[in-house]
Structures are given as C-alpha cells and as structure tokens.
Point group: C2
C-alpha cells in the first residue's frame, strides 16, 4: 500500500512559496473558527518511520497555526503515575479540550509500532478493533481526528539518517534506535502497512505522506489539515436535544410482563445479630484483601447506582469503614463542571481511575448517561444509544489492566422509598438528603425502570456484571454488597 508514497514526489521551492500563504491563511482562519465555537477538539497524530521529519512537521504546524492553542504530546516513556494505571489513561489525560488542538507523537500507536517482529496474521486485530472503537468514540463526541503516516522508502531513510548524522547541528538527533529501525526496515514497513490498513476508518482515516521532499511533505500536510478543518467548520451545529424526550419516552412495551426488577425478593432481611456478625467478618476480610501484596498489582472500582433513598450512602460507608483511609477514594458524581463538559463524556471518569493498590468507589457513575441523562433528555438519543458500547469498552479496559469492576444497583420498593423520604423530611440532620428532584424522579419511576432494565441487558457483562441489591432491608443490602465486593476483589487477584 505504501508504493504510492515511494514515487519520489517533490515540490519546487517556487511552487511551495506560491502555495503556502493561501493555505496558511485558511488554516489560521479555520483554527479560530473552531476555537471560537469550542465545539470541536482536534487530535492530530504524527507517526512515521524515523527520520521522516515528524518533528519538523510539528514545528511547521506550530508556525502555521496559533501555537497558543496547541498542546504537543511527545511519545516519552510513561511516568510511574501512568504505569500504574490502564495503558490508555495517559492519552485520556492528554486529550485536548474543545476548541484546542492536541498534536500526538505516535499516540496510542506507539506500543503497536514498538514491536521488533512481525506478528502472525490477524494477531493484531484485537488491538486494531480497540483503537478503532476509541477513535470512533472521539469522533462521535465531536472531535476531528487527523492521522498522518510519514513514509520514506528504505533508500530515502538511509539517505536522510546519514545526512542528519553528518551535519554538526543535527547529528545529536540520530540515535541507535534509528539505525536499528533502518536495519529492520522491512518489518517496520510491513507492520505500518498492516496498521494503516487495519485502523483506517471512515471516522479516522490515515493520510500517508511521502516524506522524502520537505516541500512536498509540508504542503501535503497543510492541504490535508485545511481540508479536514474546513470539513468541521462547515458542519452544522448538532441538532439541539429535544427537551421533551423525557415525556415522550414510554415504559417498555412488554405487555406488563415482569422485568428483571420484578424478580427481586424485596422481603429479604437480616436480623441484627446476624448482620453484626457478618459485618465484622466481611469488613475484616475486605481490609485484608486490600492489604494483600497481590492487590498492590491490581486495583478495584465499585459503582453504586440505585433509586433515590435506596441506601447508597450508607452502604458506601460500611465499605469505607473497613479500610485504611489512604487506600480508597470516594468519587461523588453530579453534574459535570465546564472543564469536564469540554471533553468526551468518559473523560471525567478516566480522571479518577485508581492507581494500582487502590479502591475507588463511585457514588453514581458513567451510567448517568443511560439513566438520568436519557430519561431527563439531557443528552441526545444518539449519545445515550452509543454509550452502552463505549461503557462496555471502558470497563473492559479497566478489567484488562487488572482492575476488579464491581457494579451495584440498589432497588427499593416504592412504598419503602416513600417511608424514607418522609423520614428524611422530618429528621433534622437528614433533611439535606431530600430535594425536589427526588420527588420528581419518584413520579418518573416507570421511565427509569425501563432505562434500568435496558442498562442491565446491555452492560451486565462477564467481566463486569451488575449485581442487583434488594434494598428494602438495609442490613441485607449492606452485607450483600460487602460480600460481592470482597469476593470480586479476591477473584481478580487470584
């Protein structure tokens, strides 16, 4: 496939000088259009064979555009904070905010390209799929993703490295790694061809740039960027979310059939003595599981969702009571702040992914998108529809990094909920817990129920299953949660 980028394309200085002013003016204008509308973040990926001029091109882009709104993300070795989290964490934290441009060297292709041997056919398909899924998500969230592969024929790479090495001003830039790459040129080329083939999607295609001639390389990049920028600039704004979605949404037409929520036995209860025995035992077991040496190479994420007044707070406290305060964090999830709104939806949760050896409890979570945001019409239908897949992918990444993902949905009967609401209203220090929102959500229970059932259908996976908690009896609920959590952690650390 790279034959088309080994034809010796060149651009004369004159032609280059004539071409560039118009391109640069167009680029700068488009950049400011995007900045002022703050609707698009731009992700530019610069990958290529060594010596193909990625740094020079990054430089040139920084001159064409206003560099104040560009952040460059080098392909350094991960820091220790990055090493003790899932591999994609470092890229999530580096994602540009809307309006800004992130220029990534190699980005999430670095690990793929770092191989010294060509893997078997198809061995990379899993990695390709994960990358494609991630980039599709970025684009769905409004990002523009432009990926450049800077290509040199073997002869050109050799020539280029030798000329850099011969010049007193640039010889420091040629490393052992570069010569090694030249030696294994065929492997690198084949690997890159597979990568470009496997990850060129409609959402985020690769642009292969013949890089032997500097003028030609830069003009190609400038033209490509301008075309892609303009594509975003002329795009109409997303249709505003219909505010009335919530009302339009009907409970599932299952003919009154029982859903999984109806199968719960809400009369399950535990007497005080049994509760206290189990509590002490399970808390000690949890404390031990988290202190174990093996857990220091793992981590855990616990998600707490449920109806209002179902007992999330109390259950969370029974977990945290068991633990050294330095080993866990609780993340209460409310409305996103404006920095969070300026990034893809999952960004605000990636921020809080625990480092190894730690447990993070999410009090409400990324499921907000398919629950409250869906029911209340706070996001578009397209947004919550694609969220199921994105969430499953996210949780799979956590799992693959050794993290136990444990999810609880606390169910409380309408009758018990009402009793708790009333109690909260009359008990002094519980009054803060009850708001007008709670009463409104209660009236929308059928709508919430159908969203919950769909969420469980789509996101209760083998790696990260949902556990439904019968919440009418708090003691039963807390013990079931503790037991499930500790067993999940022990299983993950086996």
């Amino acid at each position: 496939m790279f034959e088309t980028a080994e034809i010796g394309s060149q651009l004369s200085d004159d032609a280059f000088k004539q071409l560039m002013p118009g391109l640069r003016e167009g680029l700068l204008t488009a950049q400011y259009e995007m900045l002022n509308r703050a609707r698009t973040e731009v992700v530019i990926i610069l990958a290529g064979v060594n010596g193909s001029g990625r740094s020079e091109t990054a430089h040139a882009i920084g001159e064409w555009l206003d560099p104040r709104h560009i952040a460059v993300v080098p392909d350094l070795a991960p820091t220790d904070e990055e090493r003790c989290r899932p591999p994609m964490w470092r890229y999530w934290r580096a994602l540009p905010a809307k309006g800004r441009i992130g220029m990534f060297f190699s980005a999430w292709y670095g690990a793929l390209l770092g191989r010294h041997k060509l893997p078997e056919d198809g061995a990379l398909n899993g990695e390709f799929a994960a990358i494609n899924r991630f980039e599709q998500m970025l684009v769905d969230e409004g990002a523009l993703v432009v990926k450049f592969w800077f290509h040199l024929s073997q002869r050109d790479q050799k020539r280029r490295l030798e000329s850099l090495a011969a010049d007193r001003k640039t010889h420091w830039r040629v490393t052992k790694d570069d010569w090694a790459q030249l030696k294994h040129y065929d492997t690198v080329r084949a690997l890159a061809e597979r990568m470009v083939g496997g990850t060129s999607t409609a959402a985020a295609p690769w642009f292969v740039v013949e890089s032997g001639d500097r003028n030609f390389r830069e003009a190609t990049v400038a033209e490509t960027l301008l075309r892609e920028f303009d594509r975003m600039v002329v795009q109409p704004p997303p249709t505003p979310t219909p505010v009335k979605t919530a009302v339009a949404l009907k409970p599932r037409a299952n003919g009154g059939q029982a859903t999984i929520l109806d199968t719960l036995d809400l009369t399950l209860a535990l007497d005080k003595g049994a509760y206290e025995d189990a509590l002490v035992t399970l808390q000690a077991r949890l404390a031990k599981a988290v202190r174990r040496k093996r857990f220091q190479r793992h981590a855990a994420v616990a998600v707490f969702e449920g109806y209002d007044a179902a007992g999330k707070g109390g259950a969370i406290r029974r977990v945290t009571m068991a633990l050294d305060p330095r080993r866990f964090a609780v993340v209460p999830v409310g409305a996103p702040n404006d920095e969070e709104r300026g990034h893809p939806y999952l960004w605000r949760f990636w921020r809080h992914v625990p480092s190894s050896g730690r447990l993070t409890l999410f009090d409400r979570s990324w499921y907000g998108r398919v629950l409250v945001e869906r029911v209340e019409g706070l996001c578009s239908e397209a947004d919550w529809r694609r969220a199921y897949g994105e969430i499953n992918a996210f949780e799979e990444e956590l799992h693959d990094a050794g993290i136990a993902v444990v999810k609880f949905f606390l169910v409380v009967s309408p009758r018990e909920q009402l009793r708790r609401f009333r109690e909260r209203q009359t008990t002094g220090f519980k009054r803060y817990k009850i708001t007008a929102d709670d009463w409104r959500n209660r009236r929308r229970r059928p709508q919430y129920d159908s969203a919950i059932v769909e969420m469980i259908e789509r996101c209760s996976t083998e790696l990260a299953p949902w556990t439904l908690i019968e919440g009418d009896d708090k003691r039963h609920a807390r013990i079931k949660i503790l037991r499930t959590l500790v067993e999940s952690i022990e299983r993950r650390c086996r």
Copy 2:
C-alpha cells in the same frame, strides 16, 4: 509545650458514648452547610508521633462525616511527576475544591519532621515562614485549615507500639521506622515542639491532642472540628465586590510625574537585516540552551503580559519556532473555568508549572489579578492587594526549584496601538484578534498604567525581574525578548 498533653487524660466509655451522638450530628450538619454553600474548602492535617493513632482518627472522621466529600492525601514518597517539579506542586494538586474536605497525613510538614537531627536554633525559621505564608494564603482564599498534632509521651509510645506488635491483627502496622522513632523520641519531640511553636498562627493554629486514650483523642478531635466548622458556617458571606471599583480607581496621583513607563524609548527599532541575523543566532542559542544536559535538571517559565496589540502572540511564536515542540507548552490564560474558580487563585497556574527540562510560556498570567481583575473590579480590593506578596512567594518557589522565571511586559504607544487595531479590523484573517474589550481597555489606559506601575514596583524582584519591552517596533521587541529569555535560562543553568 507538650507537657499539657502528657497528663494522662482519659474519657470513660460511658462519657464518650454520651458525648458523641451530639457531636456527630453537629459535624454532619456543618459539613453539609459548607458543601451546599461551596464557599469553604477544609484542609485537615493529621500529624503526630508514630503510633499515636492518626489512621484510626482519620477513619473515625470518615465515619462521622459523609466520606463522599472527603479526599485523603497520604504521605507517600513523591511520584516521579512530583519529583521533577517544585516541592509544593504535589500539595497544590491535592487541594480540595470548595465545599470539600482534604485530609492530609503530615502534608507539607513531612519533610520538616523527617529530620533525624535537631537543627540549630533558628535554622528552621525560613521553612516556618514559607509554611505560614502558604497557610495564610489558603485562609485568605476562604479555606479552613485545622492542624492536629497527636502526641504521646515516650512511655505511652513504647506501650502503644508494643501492644500493636503483639496483636496478630495489627503487628504488620509496626515498622522499623516506628522503633527508630521511639529510640530518637527526644529529637522528634523537640522538633515537633519547635514546629508547633513556629507554625501556630492566628490563621492556622495547631491543636495538640493527647493521644494515649482513644476515647479522649477522638472526642477532642470531634469537638475541635465542630468548633472550627461552626466558625466557618456562621461567618457572613464575603461582601460582594463593588462593581464600580473600576470607575472609582484614579490614575496615580504623582502630580503628572513620569512613571517608569514613560522612560521607555519607543522609537527603538531594528532594520530587517540586523533582525534576521539576530533572530537566527538567538533562536539557535535558545534551542541549544534548552537541549543542554544541565537544563534537564532545570526548567523555565516565561510570562507575557502587555497592552492589547503589543505583539505578545508574534513574540511567543518567535520563541516557539526555535524549539522542539516536545520541549515547550504555551498556556493561554483567559477567564478561569469553574473547577479553577473552586480553588485558590494560584491553583490554575500551579497546574501548568513545567516539569524539569521543559519551558512553559504563559500568554497572560497570574498577574491578571493585579491588572485586569483589579482595574475591572473583578475581585475585591483585599484580594488584589494581597496578591503581590503571594505572587512573589510563588515565583520564589519556582526559582528555588531551579526554574528560570522570566517576565515580559510589552508596551505599545497609544498611537501605534490605534494603527494596529485599525489594521486588524480591515485584514481578513486578523479580525478575530480585535474585540469590543480591546477598545474599552484602550479607553482605560490611565487606570491600567497605574496598576502596571504598581505591579512592577512590587513584583520586579531579583529572582524574577520584569523586563519592559518597547513594542512599537516588532523586530526590536522580538529580539529583546529572545535575548533576555536565552540569557536568563543560561544564567539559571550555570
């Protein structure tokens, strides 16, 4: 001073059981008051001799309060991202947002207490002063700082460690370090006494807690926290900023005398040939300075302030053009986002402090508080008045960490500014650069001038001097900036 905490205070179980429910209800209510108003962040510091029960107390606090709004900051060894930045960076990044509680183990006292020998009298005064300044800033920014020193007599410490070590469930908690501390008890005690004496201020006093008896310790902490919380809760909201400050602010009454701004020779200019020679030379020198091995243990921060259309953007580009895009970052500073507004003023700049080996360019900066925020009445007079000292302290911390702090103020004459404004209005791709704000700021030039003069008077320090740039001729301005920057970096790396 610790004699008062070695008197064997105890609290019976009965008394404890009677006392706690009221305290807990009060604490929870106060926490929610603070959370709902989101005006106060709470910093709790838990320090003390080993075995004094800091972890248990942190635990207890997590049970009394709603743990979802508490973040615990352990005293771990710094990560490599933290190690390559000024020492306080790790604490700034861990500061709680308004409404939330940060519970710090040892916090910024860790280094101080880690000593094995008692330093000479007065040797710690510099450290004490820096800490007091920092905590004063937190309190001025609306934080509540509660510092606990958990004290044990030597006999009690010995007894405590031995009992922990003897119990199968807790023996893992006693480390070599603990026994070592017991051996050097007198040193630790004397060091802590000095620390408590030197850093107990009206803004942030220490509370010394006799810790031999668990009931007494916990009750003391609960009572103290409740008293301090209540102090914040009853505090009236800060008086709203008078919106008309800007109009009321008069130019400095210096009898029409010349200010430092009048001493600039705005006719300074450079012809094209001399400019291009100097540009190439200085850019190469800068690139080299940043590439040097020695710079990898340093870093640089360059601040760009100036009148609108004075040429900041162009000057920044002439700097970045010289550099490998992986070695610098440009931070454009506009209005703070809501996450930034929820933290002390300087937090948003601390976020961007470069790690070693890197150069960060601030396009506008922390001086916004004493310039635009002062003149436009966006903060209270008390806020901008204390900002001078806080800024000097901030820059001193950067300097002390090996960072070159270089500050440019670009001056353009009213006449040349007008010419540039008009040019921007008529040139297509420059139109985005001119807004109604620019014209308004131009009319307020006398007010800005007096704020600028005061800023230079107060914040042009030996470690971080201001450089005034004559900006009517862009070539002169750019060369002067490049030269000053490269010389400053070379000097800092000597």
